[in-house]
Structure formats: C-alpha cells, structure tokens
C-alpha cells in the first residue's frame, strides 16, 4: 500500500548539504508490521517523516495507494519521539486535536475518545496536563490520539525510547495487541534490537549515513504467544545484531577509504 521508489533525501545543515537517505526502495504491505533499525544518524527519522508526508524526497517518490504523498495523509498517523503532546492542552484536548482539525462534530469526538480511552485505560487522566503524567501514560495518550483517527498505517519514531524497561515491554505488548485488533499496518523506527524483533514482522536494516537498506530480515515467528521468552526470539535478535555489526563495520571501512 505504501511504497518508496528510489528515494533520496538531502537537506542543508547550515552551509553544508547532508545526504540523509540514498536510493531507498521499499514496499510496505497492508496489515504487516515493519521495524526500521540502524546506527544513529542513519536517516531513520527522515524515512518515517517521508512516509508521513512531512518531508519531500529530493529524488524518487513516496506513494500511497499508487498516489504520490505530498502532505500528511488522512490514513496515516504518526507518533513522534517524546510523544509530541502539547503541554498547554489537557489529555483530552491533546487526544481530540486530530479529530478536531478534521472538523469531526464534538459529540462524535466524545464517542470515539471515550472508546479509545477505555481501551488504553487512561480514562482517569482526561483532565490532566501532560506534565502531570508518567512517561507511560504520555505514550498512551499519544497512542490514543493516533488511534482516534482510525488510521490504516501507524508510523512510530522511537515511541518508547524514553521509558523504563518494564513500562516499555508493557507498551510493546499493548502496541502489538492494538495493531492486531484494529488490523493496522505499522512502521516502527527503533534503536533497540529486541523491540525491532518483538514488533517487526520484517526488520529493515539501514546503513550508516547516507541511509540505504542493507538487509530486510523476515521474522515469521513475530507475534506468537510469549515470543519474548522463546528461543527463536533470541536467535533472531542475534541475527539482527550480527547484520548490524557487519554493516556498520563495512560502513566505517568505506568512510576510511
């Protein structure tokens, strides 16, 4: 449903041009979940911003349903690093913002949010401001805002990186449950190998800058009951780690030449 065709991205940082991505080809299939992983600064965030329609490629094109993406699309929702919640809006106002911008009537917003809040177990937080929430609760509000839009594709940029280990695993399970239940296609950028293996049916490994796709690892066992404690989970993590190491070393060698 979403495809990147020979996508390159160069942006200017002061007076120097930085190439973030080079010749990326990728097909996102409906109903699948993808995890993008790679060394820091490899253009992971740029990749997700391109998919979200927040950035335009300097070369190539990003297409959703065969149509070029030129601005944020109604069927995609994006969750940013640090949650992207507005400190001056209450939990309810934050979560309602997407629907409000789409001019959904207030009564309908209340119905949708009521359901989503109950599902994410944050109903008791509705009148609070983001600075009164724990990290995990903030992430749930960000999820609520995204889910309230009933997206077909959920894009997430390191959504859980600021959380402690247990909250993080907890929310990984929550995300897994939600994308299965609502049949949402999901692209997740992460720097955690375990998270990539736990959530990605396919794991996309990017090279150091400029980001290219080095490997796409199939992860057919993803989503099985108790995968985290399964031997095959650890084997897959090792496989991904080895691939990351090989490619980061070859990247260093290339830079040295």
């Amino acid at each position: 449903m979403l495809s990147l065709n020979n996508v390159s991205l160069t942006y200017s940082n002061g007076n120097t041009a930085v190439q973030a991505l080079a010749g990326v080809n990728l097909k996102i299939e409906k109903g699948k979940s993808y995890a993008v992983i790679g060394p820091s600064g490899c253009g992971k965030t740029s990749l997700i911003f391109l998919m979200a329609g927040l950035l335009m490629p300097t070369q190539g094109e990003v297409c959703l349903y065969e149509q070029q993406v030129v601005k944020p699309h109604r069927e995609t929702a994006l969750i940013l690093q640090e949650y992207g919640l507005l400190p001056w809006k209450t939990v309810w106002e934050n979560a309602a913002l997407g629907l409000k911008l789409r001019k959904v009537p207030d009564q309908e917003i209340a119905d949708i949010l009521g359901r989503v809040f109950a599902e994410l177990e944050i109903t008791e937080c509705i009148d609070r401001y983001p600075n009164q929430l724990s990290g995990g609760q903030k992430q749930r509000v960000a999820l609520a805002r995204a889910l309230s839009l009933q997206p077909k594709i959920l894009l997430m940029d390191e959504p859980l990186s600021a959380l402690d280990a247990l909250t993080r695993e907890n929310l990984q399970e929550e995300i897994l449950r939600l994308i299965k239940k609502h049949k949402i296609t999901c692209v997740l950028v992460t720097h955690s190998i375990e998270e990539a293996v736990y959530l990605g049916q396919e794991i996309i490994i990017l090279s150091a800058r400029p980001g290219r796709i080095n490997a796409i690892v199939a992860n057919p066992a993803q989503g099985i009951e108790g995968y985290r404690h399964n031997m095959s989970f650890h084997e897959k993590c090792t496989e991904v780690r080895d691939l990351l190491e090989v490619h980061s070393q070859s990247g260093i060698r290339l830079q040295e030449q």
């Binding site: 944020p72 994006l78 992207g84 507005l86 789409r102 839009l149």
Partner: protein, 251 residues
C-alpha cells in the same frame, strides 16, 4: 492542600508588607528629613487625600497605562509571532531592531509632544513606542523557541498553517508574552510618571510634582503610595489573567 497553599501565600505577602514598612520606618527615622516621612503619617495622608481628588489622578494614570499596554501588546505580539516563525523576514528586520532598540526613546518626548500635542495621545504614544520593542523581541524569541516536535506532531494530524498558529505557536508563547507584559507594565508606569511631570494637570505624575513644588511632603507621599498601589494592583491583574489563560502553568 490548596487552601494551605493559599494561606501560606497570604502569610508570606503579609510578612513582605511588614518588612517593607519596617524598612521604610527605619530609614525615615535615621534620615530625619521631611522629604521622607514615616509610613504612618504618609498612609494617613494617603487616606485623607485619596477621596479628596487623588482618586481622579489615579484613574487617569491607570487609564493611560492600560491603554498603552493594550496597544503595545496588540501591535507587538502578532508581529513578534510572525517574525519569529519567518527566518527570512527575521534576517531582514533583526539588524533594524538592534539599531532602534537601544535608542532611549524617552528622549523623543519633545518630538512626540510637538507632533501629537500635549493631550493623552502623546503620552500613550510615547509609552507604546517604548514597550513595543520589549514585547516584540520577547515574543519573537519565544516563537523561535517553539519545539519542532510540537509543530511536526500537529502537522502530521493535518493542520493548516493557521491551525499551527492557534494550537501551537500562540499558546506556546503565552507564558513569555505574560512575562513581557509584566516588564512592560513597570516600564509604562515609570515612563508615564515622567511624561505627566509637565504640561498636564491630571495624573499621578502631575500630582506628585505639584505637591512637591508646594513642599507638601505628606501629600507628595500619598501620591507615591498611590502610584505604588497602582503598580501592585495592575501586577495582580496580569497574574490573574495569566491564571485564566494559562492554566497548565499552575498544575
């Protein structure tokens, strides 16, 4: 909890007032100069003079300060928000701002009086010119500092540039705009005091200078108390307004 906090604040304010009056009393006793009376006769004079006509000067000055503040905000805030989010315009305008900002614009008083005559308008214009730059620069810098993450997250929800202003940039800058308002309020009162010192028969500045020329120090001090009270009450008003408009800052 909340009432405890309120009680605490009340106690702290009472102590602050006591310290202020105690300090005043001590300095007045040490100096023994009729120009600085002790607090009790000064306050007594205030209560005597205020109903007799000081209230009129108080109202005129308050009107001038509030009108100037309102005009200054109405002109500087939208421009500051716009310049702060438009780096090309900022590049053009910043050097001019840096040239104009340090000019002591109070020195323009004769020019303004010559152009706009000696009524209310010239005083208001002088204050507006001075506070305009304070508010403009603070607002511009606040708009520049809005985190990209906040803007991107709202853009991804399908926001238009107008939505970005109303949901992100304006509320994000409000705390700094209130800070600028407080600073400008102090400036406005000081400038007005100076502007009212001649060519007028109304306002607290006039009252203080007039009583001074008659060497009526207790009455002069009643005027000083009135202008201090004016500053204090307007500060409270700004605080109250901020509480209403920025509830998230008080959680």
């Amino acid at each position: 909890m909340a009432s405890d906090y309120k009680n605490n604040k009340f106690i702290i304010l009472t102590i602050a007032i006591l310290i202020l009056f105690l300090g005043w009393e001590i300095i007045a006793l040490l100096l023994q100069n009729p120009a600085l009376p002790c607090p009790i006769p000064a306050i007594a004079a205030f209560f005597q003079v205020f109903p007799q006509g000081l209230w009129k000067h108080f109202l005129v000055s308050t009107y001038r300060v509030l009108t100037s503040l309102f005009l200054g905000l109405a002109l500087a805030v939208p421009l500051g928000l716009y310049i702060g989010r438009n780096s090309k315009l900022d590049k053009w305008l910043s050097p001019q701002l840096y040239l104009i900002y340090p000019i002591p614009k109070i020195a323009l008083l004769p020019v303004i009086f010559a152009i706009f005559k000696i009524g209310d308008l010239s005083k208001i214009i002088l204050i507006v010119i001075i506070i305009f730059f304070q508010i403009l620069i603070t607002t511009r810098d606040a708009a520049k500092k809005i985190p990209a993450n906040s803007i991107l997250s709202v853009l991804s929800l399908g926001a238009t540039p107008r939505d970005i202003y109303s949901h992100v940039i304006i509320p994000g800058c409000l705390p700094e705009i209130f800070t600028a308002t407080r600073i400008s309020l102090g400036t406005a009162i000081s400038v007005l005091f100076f502007a009212e010192s001649f060519a007028t028969v109304e306002g607290l500045g006039y009252f203080i200078f007039e009583t001074w020329s008659r060497v009526n120090y207790p009455e002069m001090f009643a005027g000083i108390i009135a202008i201090s009270l004016q500053g204090f009450l307007l500060f409270l008003l700004v605080d109250l307004f901020q509480r209403l408009v920025c509830p998230w800052l008080y959680t």
